[in-house]
Symmetry: C2
Subunit: 413 residues, 2 copies
């Protein structure tokens, strides 16, 4: 009938029994007449266990080092490779033809940005050959290979990038993303009890939510899905409920003002003070930070009376070890009175909805909700379909609850 | 000064601390001015743990299957890949340049005999490039890749095959094999308390001993070392003692009648009875067994008065699952009164020494030692430099002790 790409995350393949259940799901899709490609993550806590080992061996020298990235990727890709082999065995034990492939084996080429590589191409021929022979094809998520043959990883959650890239290249009818939750929620249900599962959401809204801390899908995967118009279905591997469909925007979606809210808990703010105000200073900062493969958002720049600039931006807390040496070098280079302040106790609360394009007063409603709880807003950024406020990390959960209530996200309108 | 290839087995890299120690040893060799290539096995029990997982997922169907071999290799190679990455990190933490390579990344090509593949070639260029840049190169043992890109393993103990193949291709001055024992012993010290470490032994003697159950080095590795005349030094990773040197034969070695004794505990004997005595029957049996990649030894064939043949041979017990379907098919094909008997309770005790070429009475001395203990000899095979007796498995340890005593192997003569 069609071609389905299914992805099972770490909790859905955490042990032999769950690998068995995931296998049955793929086989069921195959028996309905579909061609089936399966993407898997590492089993359960495997990746964390490997990271622990890496940390241990990096403490042996006179000074502790960060795990070197090429070797870290060489290490981490083994997690997914274990899962693909076991799943292929499980399917064969169940009497079905199946074959496993690493990223390298399907020619999933990436650039050389170890630990956060970007997919450049996939050799679909080997996959189609196997599908045409009636096999279920199982692909290791999260990993690729450089043209030189070094293995790379696609960053945390990179298995979703693999899912969507395969969906695009193979022109799949649907990409099913199996996780341990029922779909995308109006907010993180661990923080907001009344959070409600969303039935349909547009790529653009999902893009904003992913970038803002909704952890089910990473931004890059959604970008890819949007670009190639691949429908994504996020669902629970433990039941048969319909999950959340992520699809192209339709006019009816604009009736909903706000589709969801999100909280990003681990934000670090870096502030340069008294930067000499000459042309190209900001460009220099952000090109150097960018060269270190660090994503920056929420940039503020102001000029004071003494003609020096104040430049502030936020990054993911996990990028701080990479950012710090770049920042320190820049401060030295600027010289004079330039100084830098690191604040790693920030969070960002956001609301997202394509309905903002046609409805007014959304920002005011959000700010009032926060003000009513005396939560201080440190910074505001907006796009056409989202509003974000930087707050103190300790205020994050209360802030998320407040905006969820303010826009009545627990009910469908 | 030279080029050294070092290999660390599973117990020598069983945890972060041991990886640290192995790294220090490689660095010490580097700091003496050598170029250093390191081959590593999987950490401790990793391979067994992976095999357990494979067994679990192979029990999900209506009938339990043996793990399919391509997928088993896809699974098992991850063990060594984890070790190379961690060791490269450990060395970098210690302030030294190091880079890890999987079998595939150094173009270690093999045939397609999954789980017991044979090395066909190695692309030494990538290794030399890195050595010339001053790096220690760390290679995953036990694994290779087919021209198609499927990963393969070289059989149990295959890391030694990697060690010696690298030694040969890179024209190393020495291959150091680090294990958890001080070297090669005159017999397994766990069985024979008085066993003595051998200082020097010839390739041919080591070849016989390896094939006969001395587990430190597998036969294929020694064959390769002999063919390319690579000196092998087997030593303990926990101390600095000289170990056992395995080298070309010298005339002085012939002064020692018997260099060592060995016990192979897991022998299965397969006996075809009443096989129709027509030309080509034996050839058929052994070519089919050979096609299944099973090593056969101790073949006996006799013809009885009724003009039917009795054909008996022994195999490694671990090869029985592969041998059984072939044997059953042959029995059907031969038809008539042909029958087959499997005996999986056999062992083989052997003595080895190049001195046998010039000394007489060796066989008699061995048989007398066994007869004195009323141990029944089920079969005898000899080569120019070894004598083997098949005995019941339960008699194995006593038999080994008896021949060790008879040839006074606990003392140097």
């Amino acid at each position: 009938m069609g071609l389905i790409v299914q992805k099972f995350g770490g909790t859905s393949v955490a042990n032999a029994e769950r690998i068995h259940r995931a296998s049955l799901r793929a086989i069921a899709a195959k028996e309905k007449g579909n061609q089936v490609v399966v993407v898997v993550s590492a089993m359960g806590d495997t990746t964390d266990d490997l990271l622990d080992l890496a940390k241990q061996v990096c403490e042996f020298g006179p000074t502790k080092i960060n795990p070197p990235k090429r070797e870290l990727d060489q290490l981490l890709v083994t997690g997914e490779q274990v899962t693909i082999a076991l799943m292929a065995m499980a399917m064969q034990a169940l009497g079905h033809q199946a074959i496993s492939f690493t990223g390298g084996q399907i020619g999933l080429l990436t650039d050389e940005a170890f630990t956060k590589a970007r997919i450049q191409s996939i050799n679909k021929q080997r996959i189609f050959e196997q599908l045409d022979e009636g096999k279920i094809v199982i692909v290791a998520g999260f990993q690729g290979v450089t043209p030189e043959g070094d293995v790379t990883t696609l960053g945390r959650g990179g298995s979703n990038a693999t899912l969507v890239a395969l969906g695009a290249v193979l022109k799949a009818d649907v990409c099913e993303n199996y996780t341990d939750v029922d779909g995308i929620y109006t907010a993180d249900p661990r923080i907001v009890k009344q959070a409600r599962k969303i039935d349909r959401i547009s790529y653009d809204e999902m893009l904003e939510l992913s970038g803002l801390g909704a952890s089910v899908l990473q931004t890059r995967a959604v970008e890819f899905a949007k670009k190639y118009n691949v429908p994504l279905h996020v669902r629970n591997s433990q039941n048969d409920h319909e999950g959340t469909w992520i699809v192209s925007e339709t006019p009816i979606m604009e009736h909903i003002v706000v589709s969801g809210a999100a909280l990003k808990k681990d934000i670090t703010r870096i502030t340069f003070t008294e930067v000499p105000d000459r042309p190209g200073v900001a460009a220099k900062i952000f090109s150097e930070i960018g060269s270190a493969n660090i994503v920056v958002d929420d940039i503020i720049q102001t000029i004071n009376e003494e003609k020096t600039a104040y430049i502030s931006f936020t990054i993911d807390k996990s990028d701080l070890p990479d950012a710090r040496p770049v920042v320190d070098r820049l401060v030295k280079e600027f010289g004079g009175a330039t100084n830098v302040v690191f604040q790693d106790d920030m969070a960002k609360v956001s609301v997202v909805g394509v309905g903002m394009r046609v409805h007014t007063g959304v920002a005011g409603r959000m700010f009032k909700a926060l003000a009513d709880l005396s939560i201080n807003i440190e910074n505001i950024t907006t796009s056409e379909i989202k509003i974000s406020c930087i707050v103190k990390r300790e205020d994050g959960p209360r802030a998320l609850q407040a905006v969820h209530d303010a826009f009545e996200l627990h009910t469908t309108h």
